[in-house]
């Protein structure tokens, strides 16, 4: 346990334009340290980018911060992202479909969760009125 905690990287970013890049860079650097291939590095990096943007845009958190913990194991990177925002219900969000999105008047947005889920090996969302926690794992 202690050994694991000692491998943690913690990052707190403010909810400001472009700050998601700082987070995604850490993800990429750690994926490099773990010797993930370039494609997987880019995948982790983009999944975290999307998760950060969701917190920035939707959480309405008062402290305007996203708290991220990176845990490295020899063959996986686990990323836990938290915001202290209003939360949401994953179940109530329909998966986006391009055919529908292309219809006139339909909101084109709504791809972040789908991308995260497609790019990572697992994504677990725990969200309530005190905030949202997302645990994402990418295997080597």
């Amino acid at each position: 346990m202690d050994g694991e905690r000692n491998r943690e990287v913690e990052l707190t970013i403010p909810m400001l334009q472009d700050m998601e890049l700082a987070a995604s860079r850490v993800a990429e650097a750690l994926a490099e340290v773990l010797k993930f291939d370039e494609e997987k590095r880019a995948e982790v990096s983009m999944a975290l980018l999307e998760a950060c943007i969701n917190s920035f845009e939707h959480s309405k958190s008062e402290d305007r911060k996203v708290y991220i913990t990176f845990q490295t194991a020899p063959d996986e990177l686990k990323i836990t992202l938290r915001d202290h925002g209003v939360g949401f219900q994953r179940e109530s969000i329909d998966p986006p479909k391009i055919e529908e999105k292309l219809r006139p008047g339909v909101r084109k947005r709504g791809w972040g969760l789908k991308l995260m889920e497609s790019l990572m090996d697992s994504v677990a969302i725990d969200s309530d009125e005190y905030g949202t926690t997302i645990v994402m794992v990418k295997k080597k």
Binding site: D18, A42, E43, E50, P96, K108, W111, K114, L115, L119
Partner: protein
């Protein structure tokens, strides 16, 4: 990346080429959309996006490309991409954009294919 985003527009035999530079986020999407609107209003129907210098994108930026795609599809136009890094290709695949827009390796490949259209 977080360099100021820019987009250059050129024309090649009726094909409008948009060359983007930098991170395609919400602001970049809007900048692209504005230039697209001008081209469309001048009668443009074939659009090629050269993403060589956009190695990072996000879904908010890409949503604006879907807005553009909607209009292009509706008017029987063509939207295509070239020089996409693997994560961009993968993103377009996941989102299903590749069902409506072709991705080419190089610009000349894209132009050749689009001219046959």
């Amino acid at each position: 990346m977080a360099e100021t985003f820019t987009v250059n527009v050129a024309q090649d035999n009726g094909i409008w080429i948009f060359e983007t530079h930098g991170y395609i986020n919400n602001l970049a999407g809007e900048a692209i959309s504005e230039k697209y609107r001008e081209a469309f209003d001048q009668g443009g129907r074939q659009f090629l996006f050269d993403l060589e210098d956009s190695k990072i994108i996000n879904s908010v930026g890409v949503s604006i490309l879907i807005e553009i795609l909607e209009e292009i599809v509706e008017r029987n136009g063509t939207m295509a991409f070239c020089h996409c890094v693997p994560i961009v290709k993968k993103t377009f695949n996941i989102m299903g954009i590749t069902q409506y827009a072709s991705i080419y390796e190089t610009r000349s490949e894209a132009l050749a294919a689009m001219r046959e259209n």
